[in-house]
Symmetry: C2
């Protein structure tokens, strides 16, 4: 994407490191920081300076490359460090496994990490092509296509383009009138990231509280929902940002299609049931505080799972770089 006229990616290789856009500072400040070690990468993932399943995977790949450059015997230790940084997005494991395989084949880890990043860009572009057709089909009979998304699955969640937002950018760039309802996504407010992305790209959008999404769907204000994913099981259950499940329930109730967009690296073929996906629990001050200001009463405890599971039956279809498939039909697009 272009930010202030300059081509920008979330993560860019530089001499001796990678430069990342610090997402904890967005949308209020555009700041890049440099990661030079596996520890830097694990820290950036854990604190959500980088976030989004595909970008977590790419960052972990670079992290492993840094570790191996410093100490060729550190693969196992660095892999464990990176794998433990966040538990739900399976792209992290996928990237580490791919790096380990490359290392075993004596491929330069730095080259391989760069290849993973470049492939992610191409994959996200292809997701955009698959998904934009779904939007264009609605545009044939409606002047403006109303889309609801949750959290941020745009280019900020990837290296470029995004997963759920890629089809929106593609359709918008092709001249389709799209308006996006952006859910705030408490407690981390990634809706602000999505709003910032859409605004930078010139896509009309409106921010709403998460609570408002049911009302919008029930009142016919939404033509389609599209979200990203952190892990999709072999049978098509989807772990994604907490609150996704509620939107999917409301979409089904309103007969509005609910799409989930992701690359192959988000599929976990080792798990069938969504209930078996590990759900990250984050610090409760994300709920009780805003910034440093406590909003909950003193003495009130909180619970803060970062993801929920949307069962395959609530998903109309998956949007991938290989095309669109029914939520019980992943194996029609991918060989296990």
């Amino acid at each position: 994407v272009l930010i202030d006229g300059k081509p920008t990616r979330t993560i860019e290789p530089i001499e001796g490191g990678v430069s990342i856009l610090d997402q904890t500072r967005l949308p209020h400040a555009i700041e890049r920081i440099v990661l030079r070690t596996a520890e830097d990468c694990a820290h950036a993932i854990r604190t959500m300076q980088v976030r989004g399943a595909p970008l977590i995977g790419v960052t972990a790949a670079y992290g492993l490359a840094f570790a191996l450059k410093k100490d060729p015997t550190s693969a196992e230790r660095a892999s464990q460090l990176l794998l433990s940084s966040r538990p739900t997005a399976v792209n992290l494991r996928w990237a580490i496994e791919r790096m380990r395989k490359a290392i075993a084949e004596s491929i330069d880890p730095w080259i391989e990490a760069g290849k993973i990043a470049e492939e992610d860009v191409e994959t996200c572009k292809a997701i955009g092509a698959s998904g934009s057709r779904l939007i264009q089909k609605i545009a044939e009979y409606k002047p403006t296509v109303e889309v609801l998304t949750h959290c941020n699955a745009g280019w900020l969640a990837c290296v470029d383009w995004g997963t759920a937002l890629s089809p929106i950018y593609r359709a918008h760039d092709a001249g389709v009138r799209v308006h996006v309802w952006v859910s705030e996504t408490r407690p981390r407010n990634q809706g602000a990231l999505t709003a910032w992305e859409l605004r930078s790209h010139g896509v009309p959008h409106t921010l709403v509280a998460d609570n408002t999404c049911g009302h919008l769907l029930a009142r016919g204000a939404v033509d389609l929902c599209i979200v990203g994913a952190d892990r999709v099981t072999a049978r098509g259950d989807v772990a994604n940002k907490i609150g996704t499940y509620l939107k999917a329930l409301a979409a089904r109730e309103a007969n509005v299609p609910f799409y989930v967009a992701f690359p192959h690296s988000t599929i976990d073929w080792t798990i069938e049931r969504g209930e078996d996906i590990p759900i990250e629990e984050r610090a409760t001050d994300e709920v009780t505080h805003i910034g440093n200001v406590r909003i909950a009463p003193e003495g009130t405890a909180a619970y803060n799972p970062a993801f929920d599971v949307t069962p395959a039956r609530l998903v109309t279809a998956f949007v991938t770089e290989r095309g669109v498939c029914a939520s019980d039909g992943l194996s029609t697009l991918y060989a296990k």
Copy 2:
């Protein structure tokens, strides 16, 4: 209730006015302010210094009494002012109509307003008795009853006791172990009011983001849901705080009973369909800002409806001062 050992109500008649607890300052400061005119009351309702359907009704009744004391010919003008302060809670219209009827019968409006307030306390107590049986029934086979509520329908929403929280207080006081999941209730965070109430009363509770409620229900963490209402139609559709509908969908999906607690003054016999309830749209800075700090990107617009409609078919039963009835059975408890 007792606050710091002192009997406290949300609204208390004093010489020449009423003293209210300023709910925009809670839970961080306990401050009372005095209302002396209809304009004061309309302002307090509009700015949510008082909130909750029953309390809005009581405040409006006092407002009309103030107007009539000052100018016996002002009934119509003051009624319109008060009616326009917030559109969704029908208790406001109910209270104004009751006051107008009393005035027509030459009853002292100040006495009538006080009577409405006293009756609200008794009504809420009776709702507690009706609802606590539902909790106690679960307690017969479970050591701790897990309750989910949304927004604040406690004593802060009424004069005392509350609607949805009254059964919880009653069960707790009877020795039943209850734990309450409190949803944050963006954008106005009334969950903090509920948490503060529960904490003051010693009821164990945990605050969660609204997004988390689907996950809790899907994972079996909730035995029953109970919420209040701002308006219930003759056929049982429920307008309540935005986000209620999503919780009701998730409760049905998880086979968890979903109860709505309210007094007779919340029933609007003139409307059948929930779609016909006027839904208040509030200022968008409630979504884009927290306090004075903008959290949305510059240039991003927001949409902020304050209520949604939960159709009767998603409600297991109504909990009223006359007992519990099926959501299509209001007329079994009340004559129209």
